[in-house]
């Protein structure tokens, strides 16, 4: 009987101490770091299973609103089920440790976005010289090509294909060259070239 009371007390004490560890604004130190690959809202980071922190689109750094105590264990993870639709996975580097006495700003969260092909058809290209751009991605399309492929584009990213250089004696125009990359390969861009008049 006595020992059972003791056990219950111990369990309670444990539970209280865990609660003080896991959630809430219980300290004076900032816990945060760098984050990349977030272009859509939704991702939630947690420390010790609590202190939910929503990461906005475009974030490059984060810091938990809840401060943490000195000399406390922290363990930062992505909350289950919160990966944005275009994110394949997020890796957390340096996410766990002991706070010691200084702010922690060394956690690195790297999110990998799905990528899909971007390209399509080419017609009327009888000469060399066509050069296409998608921002800093540059692709040269040779004479008599019937298809082309730009570098793969991350899901949810915009794309905008422009003609950097027209082929000799021809003028090429682009259909479906601007948009937002969807959830599958995009081979719907159509390039039509005609002789200059």
């Amino acid at each position: 009987m006595k020992s059972s009371i003791l056990r219950t007390g111990l369990a309670l004490a444990c539970a209280v101490s865990l609660a003080s560890c896991g959630g809430g604004n219980t300290g004076t130190l900032v816990l945060g770091g760098q984050i990349s690959g977030i272009t859509l809202p939704g991702l939630v980071l947690q420390n010790n299973g609590g202190s939910d922190l929503a990461i906005p689109a475009g974030a490059t750094s984060f810091a938990f609103t809840d401060l943490v105590p000195t000399d406390a264990i922290y363990n930062v993870k992505v909350k289950d089920g919160t990966l944005p639709a275009n994110v394949q996975r997020c890796d957390v580097t340096g996410g766990s440790g002991n706070t010691g006495v200084y702010n922690v700003n060394t956690i690195i969260v790297t999110c990998v976005i799905f990528t899909h092909a971007l390209g399509g058809s080419v017609s009327g290209l009888t000469t060399d010289g066509l050069v296409l751009l998608n921002g800093t991605d540059k692709v040269t399309v040779k004479a008599n090509a019937t298809s082309f492929a730009m570098a793969p584009v991350s899901q949810g990213y915009p794309f905008g294909i422009t003609v950097f250089q027209q082929p000799a004696g021809l003028t090429c125009s682009i259909a479906n060259g601007v948009g937002t990359q969807g959830t599958t390969d995009n081979n719907g861009v159509a390039i039509a070239c005609k002789p200059n008049t």
């Binding site: 689109a57 751009l133 800093t136 294909i161 950097f164 601007v178 990359q181």
Partner: protein, 216 residues
């Protein structure tokens, strides 16, 4: 007399032994050099004392990163000679940092190996929008900047030049391309881009022009 000649002989002997130790052909020398990382364009001119060395790039590794380049100044230093490597001429289109912050002397370290770290410069791409009177215009630089630049009528109103609105995209590396497109047209208007693509040079691009007119 005898004592005097003995002294002279001793002095000669000492001089000879000193020569064999410190001076002459067998004196220890220290080449001054190191490695340069990230070098894509050359030459980078490094200087220590009155010596210069031109460092040129050595091409790319198979993974596309610039190969490490080793450099050595033409003359070696003697023990105790000071050296402080500085940058006399920047590598073209790059920013290099010599990783030696204070003068040192030959022999302090077993070998003199001063690293230099270089990165390729980048500049912003931008221009102005004219004629915008409705909301919704979004500009992109291909897939290079994941979040489109949204231009607003309020922005036009707040802009110092009447009826125009400057915009800027993130930095583009020297010699990389940029291509500005309209992702979304504003409501009831059609905008067109001129000077929309090109290759980044040594200065910011400011001449991309987006002109918007009301739909008929």
């Amino acid at each position: 007399m005898t004592l005097f000649s003995m002294r002279a002989a001793l002095a000669l002997l000492l001089a000879a032994s000193l020569a064999s130790c410190g001076g002459g052909g067998s004196k220890e020398t220290y080449p001054v050099g190191g490695t340069v990382s990230g070098l894509v364009y050359g030459p980078l001119v490094l200087t220590t004392g009155s010596q210069n060395v031109n460092v040129n790039p050595a091409g790319l590794e198979t993974n596309g990163t610039p190969k490490l380049v080793t450099y050595t100044f033409p003359q070696t230093l003697s023990y105790g000679d000071p050296y402080l490597i500085t940058k006399t001429a920047e590598a073209p289109h790059q920013s290099c940092t010599v990783l030696q912050t204070a003068a040192d002397s030959a022999g302090h370290m077993v070998t003199i190996n001063v690293g230099v770290s270089c990165t390729v410069n980048s500049n912003l791409v931008g221009g102005t929008v004219t004629g915008l009177t409705t909301e919704g215009l979004q500009l992109i630089n291909g897939s290079t900047t994941p979040i489109p630049v949204t231009l607003t009528v309020a922005g036009v109103a707040a802009s110092q030049a009447a009826g125009t609105l400057p915009f800027t995209f993130g930095p583009v590396l020297y010699n990389a391309t940029y291509g500005i497109s309209i992702l979304t047209q504003p409501t009831g208007q059609t905008c067109t881009v001129t000077n929309g693509n090109g290759v980044m040079g040594d200065a910011a691009i400011t001449n991309v022009a987006v002109n918007c007119v009301n739909n008929p």
